[in-house]
Symmetry: C2
């Protein structure tokens, strides 16, 4: 009699969550240092010291009635002006504070965008592998989720497969670059081709196709990799940002949606975003955090730790014999399983105290995700276990 879909979502643990709970029990049994938990994408690097300083200053200097009061539903005007300025500097493109909507983090950015755009029965395309909650969010907005596999090994867009999947019912495509779980970053040339494809398909089917860019890992890239500004390639783009990963503030739930001024009917799209936020119960984004990120948005946590972790893990696993594509961003390594059934492989890994997420819930088979936002020591100590796991497969064959 209550809502069975919501009940099922509450009762059914995600694979990641299941593994996390297993890890908690196992650590209690044999000691935390003996369990190599690579399940969760929770930043292991602290927020920049300046974020703490700024919050303390705000608490010490601003009238609490103002500091903790309602901001306007779309976010405080001065906060949106600061973010617009930062986005303009990043992109070299015009950005309006009046088209920025502050959100309670990346998940809220996505649900608000989807509810603003989707009508029941519309299709939303995701490129597999993809973050599993995309399905939950899209279906709750009334959409049918359509999975399009990426190219094997590179995990870049398979344009033939994508072209074949776009239908007259396609309302949106969710793009996640840098990607969770693969770390792939979509290069400018592919974005240009994607823009061309979407425009062509729009003309064919007389509808509108929106690109929803989920970019929480935008600031986490390695070497000279750059994450292009997607609206420059396709105008009908919504950019969903969150400070969770870049500033190591995942629990504080703060991010934004950017509607580029070049978007056709930008004011209407923005109004629908405001309407969806209102209907879903987002009154305003947390006020103190709004003011804090406005002053710290240009910072990132000390990412050299992730860079070091990536290097040690990649070199160590390659040396053992594992295969993977080096990630350009985020903090995940997506590794080929040593047997066809990734879930079975990850079960076996538990015998070596390795907690790895099988790729099935990301919409592809045969891989596992290693979150390397952990201590560097954990990676170093885990390498012998990875070797023993590998060797156990060699013996079998």
């Amino acid at each position: 009699m209550i809502n069975k879909k919501m009940l099922a979502l509450g009762q059914k643990r995600s694979a990641i969550r299941e593994l996390f709970e297993f890890g908690r029990k196992r650590k209690a049994e044999i000691g935390a240092e003996n369990v190599f938990d690579f399940s969760i994408g929770n930043p292991s690097v602290p927020a920049p010291e300046k974020v703490t300083q700024v919050m303390k200053e705000l608490l010490e200097t601003v009238d609490p009635v103002q500091l903790h009061g309602y901001t306007s539903a779309q976010g405080d005007a001065s906060v949106r002006a600061a973010i617009a300025a930062a986005e303009e500097e990043r992109s070299g493109q015009p950005v309006s504070p009046d088209l920025i909507y502050m959100t309670c983090g990346a998940a809220a950015s996505l649900t608000v965008s989807l509810h603003a755009l989707v009508n029941p029965g519309d299709e939303v395309i995701v490129l597999a592998p993809y973050f599993p909650e995309y399905r939950v969010f899209a279906e709750k907005a009334g959409a049918l989720l359509v999975e399009v596999p990426c190219l094997p090994d590179t995990f870049q867009i398979d344009f033939d497969a994508l072209a074949a999947a776009i239908s007259p019912r396609t309302k949106a495509l969710i793009l996640n670059s840098p990607n969770n779980p693969t770390g792939a970053v979509i290069p400018a040339a592919d974005l240009a081709r994607l823009g061309d494809l979407l425009r062509e398909k729009e003309a064919d089917c007389d509808g509108e196709i929106y690109l929803i860019c989920d970019e929480p890992y935008r600031a986490l890239v390695y070497g000279d990799v750059e994450v292009p500004y997607v609206p420059a390639f396709y105008e009908r783009t919504l950019v969903c940002y969150s400070y969770s990963k870049a500033l190591s503030l995942p629990g504080e739930r703060i991010g934004y949606i950017l509607v580029p001024p070049t978007m056709p009917n930008a004011a209407e799209i923005y109004a629908a975003v405001c309407g969806a936020g209102r209907a879903l119960g987002f009154v305003c984004a947390p006020a103190l955090m709004q003011y804090a990120v406005a002053k710290c948005g240009n910072l990132t946590a000390n990412l050299s730790v992730y860079e070091e972790n990536r290097r040690i893990l990649s070199e160590g696993l390659a040396d053992i014999g594992y295969t993977f594509t080096a990630p350009d961003g985020a903090f995940y390594l997506f590794v080929k399983a040593l047997e066809e059934d990734a879930a079975a492989f990850c079960e076996k890994a538990k015998d070596f105290e390795l907690l790895l997420v099988p790729s099935d819930s990301f919409g592809v088979k045969g891989y596992l995700r290693i979150s390397y936002c952990v201590s560097t020591q954990q990676i170093q100590r885990a390498l012998p276990a990875f070797r023993a796991l590998y060797e156990s497969y060699q013996k079998e064959n």
Copy 2:
């Protein structure tokens, strides 16, 4: 092609918001001190000093990775334990931390509860006058909103009207005590009668009827008024709480949903709440605020200011000749308009620089809401304007 309902919600300003914008312009024209803005329910009393202290201590003493990290989706376990203990002390009834779900404030508490319970086509009853966003929230969850008028003058439950409105499709009744906009508090005797009625109707129609108690004003009561613990009168009750008004933290978006252990199938209801929160994009409630309210939940802001405002405003308006029922809680005075059309009356009030919200958007005609969460000086300076407005109506007749 985008979602027209969300677009309409974003484009159509609420009456309150419209008035607020008018006030902003008018203040710029003639000076803020000359405009008597009673439109908004934004607490005017600062958060208790201890809240600021606790937040600073947390920032100074807790590892930022832990302080700003994800809590579990339902909220940090120690935070839920502290809230459960406080709820047990308040109610004298058993409360389980594992049936408390931390939310991003009152609006989120309501949308999550509604999405957990409602199936498309269900009916949700509200008692008019009611907070206008209840309609937005209930309709977004797929429900049909059914308005049941309260008794005139007292704004207490009209049991005959309510009994007539309950149908086999009734899934929930939203109760808001202390009430926005009337300040009415539902007494224990009426809650007992309500429990009896709902149980009787459930038996008749072979369905389940849930009581959703929206209680952000629970700590704001006057004299010896007490707000009863509703689950003691009706088991199938969800309690939605927010710290916005009691701790003057409306912008920080922090509250919770309590499923009482006496609720039949409490674990299922709680799972559906978790599922709805997940699907709507609420990953966890803001972490720093969770830890802060766990340490400050037993405090309230200095409510003597609201008590003083209520006294001065009530005495002043009664002396002039206005009629109203004295509010037992919250910070609103619901006053009879001097003509049938409350909107026309509030338009006329603008000539006297008085910004008052007509009752139409609360689902009743002929009244206006005065938010007295303003400075006491504003009330004192506004009384001559209220007198002049009153006299302008005497002259006409």
